[in-house]
Symmetry: C2
Subunit: 377 residues, 2 copies
């Protein structure tokens, strides 16, 4: 199997899965239990929190474990927005970049129903946030700005430092960064003290599924999304998924340690894949100069993306139409559309996404098949 | 280690953990991906849904996978209540039994803030819902009634059939049952067509942590709690935690198949443990005649529950003050308090909770230590 759908989900690393199993078998007590067995699980939870905090440049008490990136993003636009608005009832505007994940975008109706004004921050033709446009949208009545670190559909890195600089003029505006696709190769871009809130998702960086992170500076007011036993410093209830959290800590450390090498290797792979598609007459949508090397978006005009996906799958190559989270629900290709790409082109787009486990052999195999598959059309 | 804190969390069964690992390793694609590898994961997800539906006497399209019991309970009192209220703006009353889990109770403030009237259904002195009192509270302005199947602190089975009969007079009232503690020994009590919504939690029946179920009849209107990629028939977004869901399906099947034998074995164990505590002068709070055999609540007046827990832990026996979900947050013992037990007694209460994996040898060991530990006080 030649797996190029890592932006949808990565394979859990062997060592990470081993950690998961070990913790599940040996430390299955509830971290809220006061006996010594519970204490041991609590200790491990604290360790994971400290380790992750350090890697993300937050304090340990600012790391909250959730069940997924989707949950983290929903928490931001419910509990956090609500608490912020309670402190600033006059502020009712929220800025969201036009290329955010559905877990942000599909909350807009709920926000508007609750009296908020949601404005989209446009992107330019290569899928990068228009910082000038952001500047125009910014004002004192803005409560929260939400942007991605790396786009999930075409892989563009967003101008984190430029956005931070803009936001320096508005210290009270909360900046949320969806960093779900940034962990494998762009972890460094998150080392930015202006970021107030950060979303991560375990299964995008070789951890097991079912864990997420919301890193949130202490100054950010918030209400819980999930009420109950008062876990996670009272802010996110539910018995802590210790095995998945510990595994996630390990995967994040591995991602951090191998970051430079992974980035370099994937950049080489992407360049070669990009060239092969170009040679075969495909259109390339991922800009060469400011994108994460693990995602490449290309299209072959006139052929629906689904047909292209199936054509590659015939040869045991698994890639996707732009985003898994919208592919089965037939959403339009939101990012390409925001970039101004015509519907006729964007509907013919596919995404090739790699991971830290992608090998040279897999890349060679893919490249070998590109001309032959293209010829079918 | 002698583990008697299973109501807080159970150990994942060996076979269940094996299933988890196998799925994580082999079927790590995103079920939303349209390629054949994604299709295979989707197929497994559908199978798990069908299997679980059958065991719970719901239709497959009525089973929604969540991340936990807490999430399921939060969904009920947010998205479901909101959608129901939109259809019946005149109905603003919600009835919750006085002994519900914190994941229900701690949502009351949010409900009241949103204009709902929440009334508590009282329980009698043995911790069983007062059906007569429920009858008095019921009226046409009630939107939803929420009760437990088995109480998590003292183990009382609630009179499911009597409640169902009461609710037959009010076909439009939605009945939610928190069945988190009912799976190991009282699965049959959930075979009740009057139940509209059901909450389950994976880690209470030997599945791995991080999965929950909300079973919800098709007629129950609802909004999502989590918005995003539109997974779970559009009602609960987030990439499906397939490995944990499949493992949960297996654990539920095992619980169902071994139910009668487990119940019988644990009933014998509980009787013997109960007798040993009685002989040593402890007060027993779990009624002998209508409780699940896996939970026993006892107290030794004058000694704080924490001290008792630590005394047993000295001998490698792990049990808990009533509920893990409130034990570290120093909440009062809600169920005992609702039963009218004096604070001086309830603060001296501990919970002994067993599972399908509890052995005769563990029980003998516990019983052996009861007189000696008691003598210390």
């Amino acid at each position: 199997m030649y797996y190029f759908d890592n932006a949808a989900s990565t394979k859990p690393a062997k060592e990470v899965l081993e950690t998961y199993v070990k913790v599940s078998e040996e430390l299955f007590a509830n971290p809220s239990s006061i006996h010594r067995f519970g204490e041991r699980t609590r200790l491990l939870l604290d360790q994971a929190r400290q380790q992750i905090a350090k890697l993300l440049h937050f304090d340990a008490q600012e790391i909250y474990f959730t069940s997924s990136g989707t949950e983290s993003n929903n928490w931001v636009l419910t509990g956090i927005v609500e608490a912020l608005n309670e402190r600033h009832p006059d502020k009712k505007r929220i800025l969201i970049s036009a290329i955010e994940h559905p877990s942000m975008m599909r909350q807009m109706d709920r926000l508007r129903k609750n009296g908020y004004q949601v404005d989209l921050i446009p992107v330019d033709s290569s899928g990068v946030i228009d910082v000038k446009a952001l500047d125009d949208l910014l004002a004192d009545d803005v409560l929260l700005v939400s942007t991605m670190a790396v786009n999930n559909e075409i892989g563009t890195k967003q101008p984190m430092m430029d956005i931070a600089v803009e936001l320096m003029h508005y210290p009270n505006i909360i900046w949320h960064v969806d960093a779900v696709q940034a962990v494998l190769t762009e972890l460094d871009s998150l080392n930015n003290s202006r970021i107030d809130v950060l979303t991560l998702s375990s299964h995008k960086f070789h951890a097991v599924r079912g864990a997420g992170i919301l890193a949130k500076r202490q100054r950010v007011a918030s209400y819980p999304l999930l009420y109950g036993g008062g876990q996670e410093m009272g802010e996110r209830s539910s018995t802590e998924n210790l095995a998945a959290i510990t595994a996630m800590g390990k995967a994040l450390r591995m991602a951090s340690e191998t970051q430079v090498a992974t980035n370099e290797r994937l950049a080489d792979f992407q360049q070669r894949i990009r060239f092969a598609f170009q040679q075969a007459g495909w259109q390339i949508h991922t800009p060469a100069d400011h994108a994460s090397p693990h995602i490449l978006c290309v299209s072959y005009e006139g052929i629906p993306g689904e047909v292209l996906v199936h054509a590659f799958a015939e040869h045991d190559i698994y890639l996707s139409t732009t985003s898994a989270c919208s592919s089965r629900r037939h959403s339009p290709h939101a990012t390409l559309r925001a970039m101004g790409v015509a519907e006729g082109v964007s509907s013919s787009a596919i995404r090739i996404s790699m991971s830290a486990l992608t090998t040279r052999e897999e890349v060679d195999y893919l490249i070998e098949w590109i001309p032959e598959i293209t010829e079918q059309f």
